[in-house]
Symmetry: C2
Subunit: 184 residues, 2 copies
C-alpha cells in the first residue's frame, strides 16, 4: 500500500471523463466521438483532458482496462490458485465484458480491445502463477502467462463464433483438463 494518495480532484475529473466517454459511446460510434464532445459532457476544459490522457485512444484503453478489471474483481478469485474454477470465472468475465462492449458500438477497434484484454489477462495469470510457483524461474512464468492470455482470449473469440450451441462454462471446461496439468 503506502500509495501517494492521488488528489481527489484528479480522481473526480478522471471519473467524469470516463463516465462521459461511456455515456457517449452508448449513443454514437467511437470514431464519431471527439475530445470536445467528451469534455463538454464532463463539464471540463479541453486542456484538462490532455492533462490526464494522451489522446482519445489512451482514454479508450484505460476505460476498457478499468471496466474489465472491475468485471474480473467482482469474483474475488485473485487470491486463488490457477484452477478450473478460476479459469471459468475469468472466461465468463471476458465473454460478459465483450457482450457489454458489443452494445456500445466500438466497431473498428476490435484489435485494440483484444490487445487490452490480453494485457490484462497476462497480468492476472502472472500474478496467480507467481503465488503457486514462488521458487520457479521468473522468465518461465512470464512466458506461461503470455501463452495463457492469448489462448484464453482466442477461446473467447472461438466461443463467440458459435455462441448459440454451448454455454461459455461448458465451452471452456472442455479444454481445461488439457491445459492445466493435474486437474481431473
Amino acid at each position: 500500500m503506502t500509495q501517494p494518495k492521488t488528489d481527489p480532484r484528479v480522481q473526480r475529473t478522471r471519473k467524469l471523463i470516463m463516465d462521459s466517454f461511456m455515456e457517449l459511446s452508448s449513443k454514437k460510434d467511437f470514431k464519431d466521438i471527439t475530445v470536445k464532445d467528451i469534455t463538454a459532457e464532463a463539464m471540463i476544459n479541453r486542456a484538462t483532458f490532455y492533462y490526464h490522457f494522451e489522446d482519445i485512444y489512451d482514454l479508450l484503453e484505460k476505460v476498457l482496462s478499468e471496466v474489465l478489471l472491475v468485471n474480473l474483481n467482482c469474483d474475488d478469485y485473485q487470491n486463488d490458485e490457477l484452477n478450473e474454477e478460476a479459469l471459468v470465472s475469468i472466461f465468463l468475465a471476458i465473454t460478459n465484458f465483450q457482450k457489454s462492449l458489443s452494445n456500445r458500438c466500438h466497431r473498428g477497434y476490435e484489435d485494440t480491445i483484444a490487445r487490452i484484454i490480453r494485457d490484462q489477462l497476462e497480468i492476472i495469470f502472472y500474478k496467480m502463477l507467481l503465488k503457486q510457483h514462488k521458487t520457479e524461474e521468473d522468465r518461465a512464468l512470464k512466458i506461461t502467462a503470455v501463452i495463457l492470455s492469448w489462448g484464453i482470449y482466442g477461446a473467447s473469440v472461438e466461443w463467440r463464433r458459435d455462441s448459440k450451441k454451448i454455454s461459455p462454462e461448458e465451452f471452456i471446461k472442455l479444454a481445461i483438463p488439457y491445459i492445466i496439468p493435474g486437474i481431473k
Copy 2:
C-alpha cells in the same frame, strides 16, 4: 445578458453537489443527510461545499427553487400573458413538483418548501403582470403577485387534500373565472 460568465468549475461543482443531494434525498430522510454525506457522494472537499452554500438549508432551498423553475420553464408560457392557459400550466407545474417531492421524503420541511414555492410563484406572477400592465403602479402589481402566489399555492394544498376526486386542470379552472377579470 452581459453576465460575468460564472467559472465552469463553479457550475460543475454546484451541479455535482445538487445532483448528489437529490440522489441522497431519494434514499434517506432530509434530516439524516449530512454535509459530509453530500461531499462524499459528490467527490468534493467539505470546505468546498461551504464555498458555494451557506449550509444544508441553503442548499435545499436552491435545489428546490431550481427544480421548480425547470418545471415551470418546460412549458414556455413565461412570454405569455396571465391568462387561463398560463395559470393552468403553473398549477400543473406545482402539483407535479410536489408529487415528485413526496417521493423524496422531505418530511418536516413542508413549511420551508411551501415558502420556496410561493417565492418562486411571486417572482413569476410579478414578471407576467409587469408585461401586461407596464403603465400601472409598481406597488399594486407587487401586492397582486403576492396575493396570487399565496392563493395559487393554497389551491394546490386544497387540491391535494382530495386529489382523487378531480384532475388539477379541472380543479383550477373552476376558480379562474372568479380570479382573473375578463375571462369567459
